[in-house]
Each structure stands twice: as structure tokens, then as C-alpha cells.
């Protein structure tokens, strides 16, 4: 995927110079291993600083909301990001005409925590992608890992690697795995008793420090006033109390029902490594199972909870 860099630079430069876009959203190479820096550039001269590799896991669609209605925006979009773009258009946050989407077929993003664990948490100074290998270097060590063993969890189960909406495409399409994805955490949860599931939920979210990085990294969380900040009535307390923290995560996940594309940004940005997708995964799977719906696949399709069928399931309603 590193080969996309040159095309992104050239495209951004051209689009900014000829006025097709007022700004271009992409990434710069990070100063730390396994992370890149999302950036919105407005100057064609800065196009040379853009970069792409397997660490571009943050969802760039995040930066599309709250912009001026007449702003023309260029953006690099992988499969999940392009789905979020479709959703944001359906939800009236941005129009298709404003956007120039540079599609990026994606082989999956690297999960830095997995690489860190693989080298025993010794300090990593650099990680280089060379084809299907990752060359990991630190103080006094250099190891070679298989890229495919260290993908973000949502990338492992992804079945939409290619952008579903784009003006330009950076490379040939990636083939989708044929077999259905297996969500081990959901399978494990289903096998537990209610009490065990509750304990698991509590323990999993206990270390949450309420920084709201998960909410802020999510392109679908754009409410001007988040429910967390509502005071009359106050739906959830602001301290690190367990019940409040669980309430926050439950309600945030539910607000994403039918809107989550499983881009993994929430899990990626959590500073205390909480598997935030535990809840949204369940909703995504239920949306698929109950309504044969996957967010953002079809441009112009109404969001899941904004539509209904007369035959929707109601076996649980007396």
C-alpha cells in the first residue's frame, strides 16, 4: 500500500492547484512507529508531505462533518471510510457533489498492540512494511513478522476492502475473502450465562478513563451536543464511576446501531486498550441478521433506523 503515496501526492497537488478542491484530507508520516498523522491541507505546496501505508487506520471521514456547505473536499478513502462517506451523505452532513473521493483498496491496517506484544513490549523504534513482512526494529533487536498476523481485528473480519464510492482509484481491487467472518468475541459472549456476560462487560470497560477518544475518532459521532454533555436531564454522570462508564459505552454503541462500518478507529485510539468494538460488533451482526443490512454499502440508501419494512421481525413483542 505504500505505493499509493506518490499517486496521492500527485492527485492532491493537482486537485488543489486547479481548484477542484479547497482542501484535501489525508495522512502524513508519523513521528512514532505504527501511527500516521491525519491532516487537512489547503496548500498545494504541502501535497508533497502526504503519505500512505498500513498505519493509516484512523477514519478520515471524521473530518467531513462540520465543514462549510460550499467547501469542496478531497479525501482518501478505503472501503470502510467510503461507506462512512455514503452514510454521512445519507444523513445530510455533506453532499456527494462536495467530495472528490480518492479510493484506496485496502489490505488491512496494522494493529500496533499486536506487534508490540510480539516483541515482548520492548521499545520499538521503527516498523517497516516490506511486502507481506513487517521489519520491526528497536534498541538491540530486529525482528521480522508476517503482516497478515498483525492486522487490526476489524480488518481480519472485513469483507469490504474496496471503496464502494470513489472518483479515482489508487490501485487494483483487493480480493475479498470468500468465507464468512468469524467474530470470536461474539461467539464467546453468546455461550456465557447472563451473569458471566455482565461481569465480562464490567471488567472490560472498567479501565475507561472517559477521555472520549473513541467517540471523537468515530466519524458517525458528530452531534453538536453529545448525550454525555446533556445536563437537563443528565443521562450519565461524568466521573469514572463504573455504572456511568457502562452507561456511556452502552448508549454510544446504540447510537451507532446500523451506522457503524466497523472501521476500528474507536479501538485503535483508545489509550487504555479497551476492545470498544465488543458492543458495536453485536449490533452490526444483528443488523445483518435481522434486516440484511450493512451500513453505507449503497449510496443514497437510508440509514437502518430511518427505514422499515412491513415484515420486520417482531417475535419478541407481545
Amino acid at each position: 500500500m505504500k505505493q499509493y503515496t506518490d499517486t496521492i501526492k500527485a492527485t492532491a497537488k493537482r486537485l488543489l492547484e486547479d481548484g477542484t478542491v479547497d482542501c484535501f484530507i489525508g495522512f502524513r508520516k508519523g513521528t512514532m512507529p505504527m501511527i500516521n498523522h491525519p491532516v487537512v491541507i489547503t496548500d498545494a505546496a504541502k501535497a508533497d508531505t502526504l503519505y500512505w501505508d498500513g498505519n493509516c487506520g484512523n477514519n478520515l471521514a471524521l473530518y467531513l462533518t462540520g465543514r462549510k456547505a460550499d467547501e469542496k473536499i478531497g479525501i482518501v478513502a478505503t472501503g470502510c471510510v467510503s461507506r462512512n462517506i455514503n452514510l454521512l451523505i445519507a444523513e445530510g452532513q455533506v453532499t456527494r457533489e462536495q467530495l472528490y473521493i480518492v479510493g484506496a483498496p485496502c489490505k488491512g491496517m496494522i494493529e500496533r498492540r499486536s506487534v508490540e506484544a510480539a516483541v515482548g513490549h520492548r521499545e520499538i523504534l521503527s516498523v517497516n512494511e516490506e511486502g507481506e513482512k513487517l521489519i520491526v526494529e528497536g534498541k538491540g533487536f530486529k525482528e521480522e513478522l508476517n503482516r497478515a498476523d498483525h492486522l487490526q481485528r476489524n480488518c481480519v473480519t472485513c469483507r469490504h476492502h474496496n471503496p464502494v464510492e470513489h472518483n479515482d482509484i489508487l490501485g487494483s481491487e483487493v480480493s475479498e475473502p470468500a468465507e464468512a467472518p468469524v467474530f470470536t468475541d461474539l461467539e464467546e459472549a453468546a455461550a456465557k450465562s447472563d451473569e458471566d456476560r455482565w461481569n465480562f462487560f464490567q471488567q472490560t470497560f472498567e479501565s475507561c478513563i472517559r477521555c472520549y477518544a473513541c467517540r471523537n475518532a468515530c466519524p458517525m459521532c458528530y452531534c453538536p451536543t453529545c448525550f454525555v454533555d446533556e445536563a437537563k436531564p443528565q443521562w450519565v454522570g461524568k466521573s469514572s464511576d463504573k455504572v456511568d462508564t457502562m452507561t456511556f459505552h452502552f448508549l454510544r454503541a446504540f447510537h451507532l446501531a446500523g451506522r457503524c462500518t466497523d472501521c476500528g478507529a474507536c479501538e485503535r485510539v483508545c489509550p487504555v486498550d479497551i476492545p470498544v468494538r465488543y458492543l458495536t460488533n453485536k449490533l452490526n451482526r444483528d443488523a445483518q441478521e435481522f434486516y440484511d443490512y450493512s451500513a453505507g454499502l449503497v449510496a443514497g440508501e437510508r440509514p437502518l433506523l430511518d427505514q422499515y419494512k412491513l415484515t420486520d421481525i417482531e417475535d419478541f413483542i407481545k
Binding site: G30, T31, M32, I35, N36, H37, P38, V39, V40, I41, T42, K46, N58, L62, Y63, R113, E116, A117, H121, E123, L125, K139, S207, I209, R210, C211, Y212, A213, R215, N216, A217, D229, Q234, G237, K238, S239, S240, D241, R268, V269, P271, V272, D273
Partner: protein, 352 residues
């Protein structure tokens, strides 16, 4: 001042022994990271850990702290009267704290305990705390403590400084508090002159790997920096998530919230308390006025504020250097890789 030498095993036992006279905080592993935790029976201290994910500021300034309590049940004699929450300010010791973090308490104290105001919760807890610090033999690649007034073996803010000599720890008391703590740590021998010399020699060779320029920060014109053209692009990727402020040892902002709930499960018997929680200038609500006006309603204004505060306003106001101790936690915690080291360069080297 007393110095003692402990084998690593003896050190472990000595720290455990400290629990008899202090509430002890130690670095302990949780998941992939280390955090300063209360040394209870189920905790295993890890003094070999490098940087904790979150700073030790919560040992003096907890993330959520109850300040007052009150009953809202009108039939109670003390209904609607705010009562101080009883606090425990008995002596505590933070063991394994790094020099950068210890120095951060000095910087934060200027805010919480000065001639105009003394925050009783922070100040009382700070005064009851002894900092038994561990110098850094191998600072992390993101550390730049040397550039901002601290250093891998800097003594500011510490009561005891400990040198890791490989096979042993050499602990040096720096003041009366340190003496007292060291006296309560059994199992060590008095350190020999040779031990102290070896420790000092070792420390002198250690340097923080990262460097940032700070020489021109004081002389930069505040308004020029404020109106600089680099803020828009720098702030464009920011999520305003607050991870930097929560991980930062010198960030001190908090929000006070009143909460009420049902006492004894009775909906009509309401109880309330006033709790203060860490807040963040990164949150849009931070500066929201009751009128609805928000002077920092735009993301770029908030991002600019944070860096101006740390690297300019504090510098100008107190003339004692920046409000950054070079611990590098924000660099590691930022989910979009906004690197404060780059901001130091942008601000220090800025010219109109």
C-alpha cells in the same frame, strides 16, 4: 543525608515494609501498560517498568474526587446542607516515580498552592506524600526531559532518589521527608562513598534521547505566536479527545459536577454529592458559558490554547520554563500523532 544500598530483592521487601507506615503507590502492569496503583495484596510492583501510561498525578489529584455531600430529603435534620466529605490524608509514598513526574508536581503546585489560594484537597494530599523516585538509566525515545528543566536523574520534586546500579539500588535521601521514608525501609546497608560515586558517574552519562528547542520561547511575542499561520494545519487532525491532557502530569484542569441519586433505593429519598473530575481544554464544553457563548468553540482555538498554555503563557507568567516536563506521554497517547516536539520547534523557531 542518608544513603542506602539495597539488593533488588531487599528493595522489594523494603517497599512492602513501607506499607506499615505509609499508603504506598507503585508502578504495576495492567494489560500492555503500567500504571501507578495502590500497593495492595493483589498488586505486584514492577520497578523495571519504563514509563507508566498515565502519570502519577492521580496519587495527589485523583481523576474523580468527592468534595461535598448533602441530603436532599427534607425530613432530614441536615437536609440541603453541604458537608465536607471526610478525607484521609495519612502519609503516602509514591515509589518508583520518575524525575520528570516528580518535577511536574512542583509546577502544578504553583497552581494549587499559592499566596492567593490553597486548594485543600490537592495541597493536603501533596503535603502528606513522599516521592521516592527512580532515575532513568534508559530514557524512552520520546523523552526530552533534559530540554525542559528536568533530566533522567534530576532531583527536583523528589524526596529520595534511587539509582538502578544493575545488581542493586542505591537510594539517596534528599530532604527530611526522604530521610524519614528511608529510615522506614529495612534491609539495606549504608551506601559506601564508592557506591555514590559510581551512581553519580552512571547518571552523568545518561541523556534524554529527544531534544526540543526552548531558547526563544520567552522572547517570542505572544500575539505573534497566537496569530501564527501554522495552527490551522496542526490542529486539523486533532480529535479533541483529551487523551493528551489525561496522560499529562502537568495538566490540572477539572470540572465540578453535582450528582444526585436515590438513597436506599427509595426514589423519594434523594442524596447528592459534589464531585470534581479531570476536565480537558480539548473538550468543546470546557469553555462553554451559561449564555451559550463559547470563546473557544472552534477546534483550532482549543488546540492552540493547549500549546500556548504549556509553552508560552506559563513561561511568561512564572519565568521558570515551560509547563512541560518532557515525559513524552502525550506523544505516545495521541491517537493522531500530534507531536509536541514538533510544536516546540514551530513555536520556538517561529518568525513572522
Amino acid at each position: 543525608m542518608t544513603s542506602k544500598r539495597f539488593t533488588k530483592e531487599a528493595w522489594g521487601k523494603a517497599v512492602e515494609g513501607l506499607r506499615e507506615s505509609y499508603k504506598v503507590w507503585v508502578p504495576a502492569k495492567e494489560g500492555a501498560h503500567h500504571f501507578f496503583k495502590e500497593y495492595t495484596d493483589d498488586i505486584t510492583p514492577d520497578f523495571e517498568a519504563t514509563k507508566t501510561r498515565m502519570s502519577p498525578k492521580h496519587t495527589v489529584f485523583p481523576q474523580s474526587e468527592r468534595m461535598f455531600e448533602y441530603s436532599l430529603e427534607s425530613s432530614d435534620a441536615d437536609a440541603n446542607i453541604m458537608k465536607d466529605t471526610p478525607k484521609d490524608y495519612s502519609p503516602q509514598a509514591v515509589v518508583g516515580v520518575r524525575p520528570c513526574d516528580a518535577y511536574s508536581f512542583n509546577l502544578v503546585k504553583i497552581n494549587f498552592d499559592n499566596k492567593e489560594y490553597r486548594d485543600p484537597w490537592w495541597a493536603n494530599r501533596y503535603e502528606s506524600t513522599t516521592f521516592i523516585g527512580m532515575g532513568c538509566n534508559e530514557p524512552c525515545s520520546t523523552c526530552f526531559c533534559d530540554s525542559v528543566g528536568s533530566g533522567p536523574f534530576d532531583e527536583k520534586g523528589l524526596d529520595v532518589l534511587v539509582y538502578d546500579m544493575g545488581d542493586a539500588y542505591v537510594a539517596k535521601a534528599l530532604n527530611e521527608k526522604g530521610e524519614k521514608a528511608l529510615a522506614a525501609m529495612n534491609g539495606g546497608q549504608d551506601a559506601a562513598e564508592a557506591d555514590l560515586t559510581a551512581a553519580a558517574d552512571m547518571a552523568a552519562k545518561v541523556e534524554a534521547p529527544s531534544k526540543v528547542p526552548t531558547d526563544k520561547l520567552r522572547s517570542q511575542k505572544l500575539n505573534d505566536l497566537y496569530d501564527a499561520d501554522f495552527w490551522d494545519e496542526l490542529a486539523s487532525g486533532c480529535l479533541n479527545c483529551g487523551a493528551c491532557t489525561f496522560a499529562c502530569p502537568t495538566c490540572w484542569c477539572f470540572d465540578i459536577q453535582d450528582e444526585s441519586w436515590n438513597r436506599e433505593g427509595e426514589v423519594r429519598k434523594r442524596q447528592g454529592d459534589r464531585i470534581r473530575n479531570w476536565d480537558s481544554c480539548m473538550f468543546p464544553l470546557f469553555t462553554l458559558h451559561a449564555s451559550g457563548h463559547n470563546p473557544r468553540g472552534l477546534k483550532v482555538q482549543r488546540v492552540r490554547q493547549r500549546f500556548m498554555h504549556k509553552l508560552k503563557y506559563y513561561v511568561d507568567k512564572y519565568d521558570g520554563g515551560t509547563l512541560c516536563v518532557g515525559c513524552g506521554r502525550c506523544v505516545e497517547a495521541c491517537p493522531v500523532n500530534i507531536d509536541i516536539r514538533q510544536v516546540f520547534e514551530l513555536m520556538n523557531d517561529f518568525s513572522k
